[in-house]
């Protein structure tokens, strides 16, 4: 017996190896998780580092003389023809009287944004009585000045490679010393549509475009998706046809999104004649895109309702409709809503299919309806990332932050809804 190893000895012999394997496995898992967390951290850190500066914008304080002679030479104020640029320019020159040559004056004029004249026009439109007075206003500086103030322009660089000359930098510095340069909250980013001037470009047009699109998408895809899921799960006979439909729905969920864009272009724009670049068409395309997601999620939610609940209701004499609407739907609703919101967040982040239906156009006006030309947040990000101006880089990051914020909110809503509606059985 002594030559025979006991069971305990055999087990102990292998124990060290087992523990080593377990430790190795644990470490591998921790390493994988750490990589994911690090990448996520780097992503958010760079995004916030790059984008946060765009929530502020450089403004110049100018004393603008709204002279009656310049604005209303005929004694009548006509906002359409009034030369606001001239008023802004002369106010700027008044701050730097040493500027004399035509060349220099032009360089000086480039320090202030064209947005300054828009601001004046709005001011006078609101209160025409200001004609003849002198107003001290904070007007937006040009994006290059903005970049300089935010430290994105290196003064050590070769002058020819820099958007601002030594002289322009000197002017900005002297204005700064006079307390006439300030970083303030960039409200234009949230209240304006797109613009060629970075300091005037905002995401409102894109946000509204995305909003209208998602409104179309949710009102169509949720009822259709849920109805399809209920039919397939509760009423459809299980045969070769329903299997075929199931396989196709699953495949549809995996179809590259740009294909849906092509479909939308062919069907909604070319065949049905709907306007291009419209949120309506975008919403329809995104409906096609999210339908499979919602159907699959809803079917899973319906399947998860315990059959005992169905049997209980059937046993009491409930009709199949009553079983579905009194028992299955309320229990499956959290899952269905989660699926819908996940589908919506996918739709919100989608850009490729929108390129196909013309929503990639440069659109300045904020869309006011479903058929107005519009663009969407991810497409706006794509457009800005493509723009050469240095100042668009930070706005791209800002738009990404806003988009991620919306996605986060939607996912949070899904979690909260699930938690609140979850019922135990």
């Amino acid at each position: 017996m002594s030559a025979e190893r006991s069971t305990l000895e055999k087990v102990e012999a292998g124990l060290a190896r087992r523990r080593r394997k377990e430790l190795l496995f644990k470490l591998t898992g921790m390493f994988a998780t750490a990589i994911g967390v690090v990448f996520l951290g780097v992503f958010f850190a760079t995004l916030i580092a790059k984008g946060s500066s765009s929530f502020q914008q450089t403004f110049l304080k100018l004393d603008i003389e709204l002279s009656a002679a310049a604005l209303a030479p005929d004694g009548e104020l006509d906002l359409r023809y009034a030369d606001f640029d001239a008023l802004v320019r002369s106010a700027l020159r008044a701050q730097l009287p040493e500027v004399s040559s035509r060349e220099e004056r032009r360089a000086l004029n480039r320090l202030v944004s064209v947005g300054a004249s828009y601001q004046l026009r709005e001011l006078l439109a609101a209160d025409p009585g200001l004609v003849g007075t002198t107003q001290t206003l904070w007007v937006p500086a040009s994006s290059n000045v903005d970049m300089l103030i935010k430290g994105d322009i290196n003064e050590q660089d070769d002058e020819a490679l820099r958007p601002l000359s030594d002289q322009q930098i000197a002017w900005v510095r002297s204005l700064d010393e006079a307390g006439r340069v300030d970083l303030r909250f960039n409200s234009a980013l949230f209240s304006n549509g797109d613009s060629r001037e970075p300091e005037l470009a905002g995401i409102k047009g894109a946000v509204m475009g995305s909003f209208y699109m998602l409104l179309v998408t949710i009102t169509l895809s949720f009822p259709i998706g849920v109805a399809a899921a209920i039919y397939l799960e509760e009423f459809a006979p299980k045969n070769r046809w329903s299997d075929l439909i199931e396989v196709n729905i699953n495949n549809l969920a995996a179809v590259p999104s740009i294909v849906f864009g092509l479909l939308g272009l062919a069907v909604f724009i070319n065949w049905m004649g709907l306007p291009r670049s419209a949120a309506l068409v975008g919403g329809l395309v995104l409906t096609l895109l999210t339908l499979p997601v919602i159907i699959i999620a809803s079917r899973a939610a319906i399947k998860a309702v315990p059959p005992s609940i169905r049997e209980a209701a059937l046993g009491l004499g409930a009709s199949r409709m009553q079983v579905v609407f009194h028992h299955v739907m309320p229990l499956a609703m959290p899952g269905m809503l989660t699926g819908a919101i996940i589908g919506m967040s996918r739709a919100l982040g989608e850009s490729a299919p929108l390129l196909m239906i013309g929503m990639v156009a440069f659109i300045v006006d904020v869309p006011g309806g479903f058929t107005d030309p519009a663009t969407a947040l991810p497409v706006q990000i794509y457009l800005w990332a493509d723009s050469p101006e240095r100042a668009f880089a930070e706005r791209t990051s800002a738009a990404i932050i806003v988009l991620l914020g919306f996605l986060l909110l939607m996912n949070l809503a899904a979690v909260i809804m699930r938690k609140r509606m979850e019922r135990k059985w």
Binding site: L316, G317, A318, K424, W425
Partner: protein, 308 residues
């Protein structure tokens, strides 16, 4: 009529054995392409007849030559059985013998299984429950069911009991509904325990209470027959005893068909016992006879513990 055991194979007249009817997958209607044989105790495929006495004094539900097919599987074969008014009849037998399947034929719960096909004839108080015009919804209001696992709806206790009366429109106003709910809970012996917490979810009750809630929910519709599919298998002995007492009381008003794995339970609660084996109804007789003097070898083997 009493039929004694026939161990030797009988030479069946092939015409008297109804052929399984192939055809429609439509479960709401049962094919009537065959002529029912004379009702003389059933021929089974083994060439045996059900032993004992399938009839009773005051039949209320009558199953004649019932066959159930799941696809190609002949799950219930030529079962004929009478269920009396206000009697408790227990269906016993080893797992997979078809007793639950037969039970579910009695309120057409098999309709929801797509591959299931039922042939034969089942009448409830003279009405064929598988006739075309019979709406299963109306049938289930007359034949209630209690399931193996307590399955209250994830709603309040009140709503659980009120659900049946609500969908069938049994109460005209809130007062009448209250009345139905309270009397059903009372009869299910649950009112005392829950009358202060009717708004709490039914799932918050203990297992035994949940099962009594399910019984209250069933009798709230005021059915004529109550089917119970192993109602105590998920309960502890004390809860089981309460349910059994309840069955005793309920049998004064309802016919109760109970499927059970516990022979003690069958002996305690039922007046008659039907023993199923591999889809065949082997023996039916009074509870006393089955447990003291079974006539068929299979029944004897089962109750003495040699099968199952």
């Amino acid at each position: 009529m009493t039929i004694t055991a026939m161990t030797e194979a009988t030479t069946d007249n092939p015409e008297s054995v109804p052929a399984p009817v192939t055809g429609s997958g439509d479960n709401d209607s049962v094919s009537r392409d065959f002529v029912l044989p004379a009702y003389t105790g059933q021929h089974t495929e083994l060439g045996e007849k059900t032993v004992g006495n399938v009839t009773c004094d005051d039949p209320f539900m009558i199953a004649e030559d019932v066959n159930v097919y799941y696809g190609d599987n002949h799950a219930i074969q030529h079962v004929t059985l009478e269920i009396g008014k206000k009697e408790v009849i227990a269906l016993i037998g080893p797992s997979g013998c078809g007793k639950s399947t037969f039970l579910r034929c009695l309120n057409r719960m098999n309709d929801s299984i797509e591959t299931a096909r039922v042939t034969g004839r089942i009448t409830l108080d003279g009405d064929d429950i598988y006739r075309k015009e019979q709406d299963p919804v109306a049938l289930r209001a007359r034949v209630g069911m209690v399931f193996q696992k307590p399955n209250p709806f994830p709603k309040s206790i009140y709503d659980n009991v009120a659900y049946g009366p609500r969908i069938h429109g049994l109460a005209v106003d809130r007062a009448e509904l209250d009345n139905i709910v309270f009397s059903s809970l009372e009869r299910a012996g649950l009112l005392k325990e829950v009358k202060d917490r009717l708004d709490e979810p039914g799932t918050s009750l203990s297992g035994g209470q949940q099962q009594r809630l399910c019984i209250a929910r069933t009798i709230a519709v005021n059915p004529e027959v109550i089917l119970m599919d192993e109602p105590c298998s998920a309960l502890d002995p004390i809860a089981t005893a309460r349910i059994e007492d309840l069955m005793d009381e309920l049998s004064e008003d309802y016919a109760i068909v109970i499927v059970t794995h516990s022979m003690q339970q069958a002996a305690r609660v039922s007046k008659r016992v039907a023993y199923f084996h591999l889809g065949l109804l082997v023996e039916v007789d009074s509870t006393d006879t089955i447990f003291t003097n079974p006539q068929h070898k299979l029944t004897e083997d089962y109750i003495t513990g040699r099968i199952g």
